[in-house]
């Protein structure tokens, strides 16, 4: 993993296993929230992406106050080293990582391969015991709003073409064949993609065992094949902003692009706005 632009944000399953029962804080964030209850890494707490990482009234990420309360209740202090992992190739774990970074928690890492890799390795313990952490007082300091894009940022790029746009949805969503995958409730009024966006489905970045592909492979996928420019600002988007967190992580930390933002409004916002340019 040392090949990546910033290897400090990615740790292996072995690394985590060697640090069980230490001060390391472990957080599980799954797409399927049943997974944690069935069995998890000893000592790990679980955050529910729908109810705990998003505002429950307006469409937004969790508020600063609720983030502080969530981490405080989970026994996480400002200086703690936190490792996040989850199912589906760390999909929502990457979203949680993005939220942690947004609220300025610097010492946060993803466990490469997520829970699937942990499960594959017979020497890795699993438990159904839920930890009972001692609450802390967590206090958000300086935030990192520069890692988040809003609709106006995307519109600016759509009009000027002065940054990379990476559409991480499935090819059918990007081409406008479908607005959303079948059966999904979060949808938009129109199908297609933001003009100029490069289509690179998020899952392209991972190996079959859930770990991230090598830096060389990722450079080929994003730079050579998709035509993402290395020296330019970049915005990643998907449908509701979670898949794009995963690609945001890849572009910012594994490939080291200079200024990468996640557009969490994503297609459900962009594809519903009146008068914005859309390509099919």
């Amino acid at each position: 993993m040392s090949e990546y632009a910033d290897p400090s944000v990615l740790v292996s399953t072995d690394w985590v296993n060697e640090r069980l029962n230490t001060d390391l804080k472990i957080v599980e964030v799954d797409v399927d929230t049943q997974q944690y209850a069935a069995g998890h890494i000893p000592g790990a707490v679980a955050f529910d992406w729908t109810t705990q990482l998003q505002d429950q009234t307006q469409r937004d990420i969790i508020s600063k106050e609720n983030f502080e309360a969530l981490l405080g209740k989970a026994g996480i202090s400002n200086d703690d080293e936190v490792v996040i992992y989850g199912d589906n190739n760390n999909w929502f774990a990457a979203y949680a990582f993005w939220v942690f970074k947004y609220y300025g928690h610097d010492n946060v890492k993803l466990m490469n391969g997520g829970r699937s890799k942990w499960l594959d390795e017979e020497d890795k313990p699993l438990t159904t015991d839920t930890p009972n952490p001692t609450p802390t007082t967590y206090s958000v300091g300086e935030t990192n709003p520069q890692i988040r894009a809003f609709a106006q940022d995307v519109l600016q790029v759509a009009r000027d073409g002065n940054a990379n746009l990476v559409d991480v949805r499935s090819p059918d969503e990007c081409s406008g064949k479908v607005i959303a995958p079948p059966g999904r409730s979060e949808t938009a009024q129109r199908a297609g993609h933001v003009p100029g966006a490069k289509s690179v489905p998020w899952v392209t970045a991972v190996n079959p065992d859930g770990t991230f592909k090598s830096r060389g492979d990722l450079e080929k996928i994003y730079f050579e094949d998709a035509g993402v420019s290395e020296g330019t600002d970049t915005i990643a988007y998907c449908r509701i902003g979670e898949r794009s967190s995963h690609t945001w992580f890849v572009l910012k930390y594994l490939l080291g692009l200079p200024n990468v933002k996640n557009y969490d409004g994503s297609w459900t916002e962009y594809g519903s706005m009146i008068g914005v340019p859309i390509e099919r």
Partner: protein, 344 residues
């Protein structure tokens, strides 16, 4: 056990083998090619009404021998026992739950939410505890095997309570067909079978049958039928969904026919109304494969595996053949629309 009088001491004795095969029934009115004989092997005649009884009985035996299954109450009234956890679209779970129940073992079935309600209720009737997993939020190639991973987690984290047979990787799934289905077909067709037509799911059936039949006659063609992309045929997998199973071996398959999945439903309906065969959707798709092969190859004797019957799929049939629901409600004579139907 007496297969002549069909008097048995328990359900295990009814499980099929060479001496107690599931029936082969010839297709008559719907056969498009008179020179090609098509037989359906009616796997719904198994004790729990699907082909999965075969694999389930082998898997259960292996779990008993290797994983120490234990009936509830073995070590006192509080003993929850040690049973089976398995990801299943329904049929394997139903077979495992039925067989496990007879032995007193607990059974937990992990299944995707898209499994029809009929199957979920049947599993509960058979005594299984359900863990229902949400279907993919954002499907991507190779993703969304939440039920498999959840079952693996339970088996690892609660190994004192559950063992997982893992039908997608377990060679006993293949062995069941090498030792039962294959020999049955060979005997029933007096070795004259030329084509074997089945579907892809765990691939235990196609791999086991191919290994056995090709060992008897290497010229037998093994044809796998796969539903088209985005399909809604429970239990089946198309080519892009096969990464979860290690039992798929393309060297054992002569042809893969990808078929429009809607035909699974319409062909199944034709089988019921024209041949008296109450075929489920997967059998409908396999029948379409048999038709294609018969028209293409003109002569031969083909055997199609009809995995299960229609009864568990009423909801799916209603969805894919909405005309079936017409006339199923009483008419309002002043305004001749079915009561409750929306106005135009």
């Amino acid at each position: 056990m007496n297969h002549q009088t069909r008097v048995y001491d328990d359900i295990f004795e009814m499980l099929p083998d060479e001496d107690n095969p599931t029936p082969l029934v010839r297709i008559n009115r719907l056969n498009p090619e008179p020179g090609f004989t098509l037989y359906a092997k009616l796997e719904w005649m198994n004790p729990f009404a699907s082909v999965k009884d075969r694999a389930a009985s082998y898997l259960l035996r292996q779990m008993e021998e290797e994983k120490g299954l234990r009936a509830r109450g073995t070590n006192g009234p509080e003993d929850p026992g040690k049973g089976i956890v398995e990801p299943t679209s329904g049929n394997t779970g139903l077979s495992l739950a039925g067989l496990a129940g007879v032995k007193g073992y607990p059974m937990k079935a992990v299944l995707p939410n898209k499994v029809p309600l009929e199957k979920k209720l049947m599993l509960k009737l058979a005594g299984a505890e359900l863990e229902v997993v949400n279907d993919d939020l954002c499907p991507s190639p190779g993703m969304g095997e939440g039920s498999i991973n959840l079952a693996r987690t339970i088996a690892r984290a609660q190994s004192n309570k559950f063992a997982m047979p893992h039908q997608y990787e377990n060679e006993n799934n293949v062995r069941a067909h090498m030792e039962t289905t294959g020999p049955e077909i060979w005997k029933q067709t007096a070795g004259e079978i030329t084509h074997m037509i089945t579907s892809l799911g765990t691939c235990g059936t196609v791999t086991g049958l191919s290994k056995f039949l090709k060992s008897k006659n290497p010229d037998i063609k093994v044809i796998a039928v796969a539903p088209s992309e985005g399909h809604d045929v429970p239990g089946l997998r198309n080519m892009s969904q096969l990464s979860v199973t290690t039992l798929y071996d393309e060297s054992l398959i002569d042809d893969v026919l990808e078929i429009d999945y809607e035909l699974a439903y319409t062909r199944a309906a034709e089988l019921f109304s024209h041949e008296g065969l109450r075929a489920g959707p997967s059998a409908g798709l396999i029948f379409e494969g048999g038709r294609i092969v018969a028209e293409r190859d003109k002569t031969g004797l083909g055997v199609m595996i009809f995995c299960d019957d229609a009864f568990k799929y009423a909801t799916n049939f209603a969805k894919h053949m909405p005309e079936l629901t017409e006339g199923t409600s009483p008419m309002n004579h002043e305004n001749p629309r079915p009561v409750g139907a929306a106005k135009e």
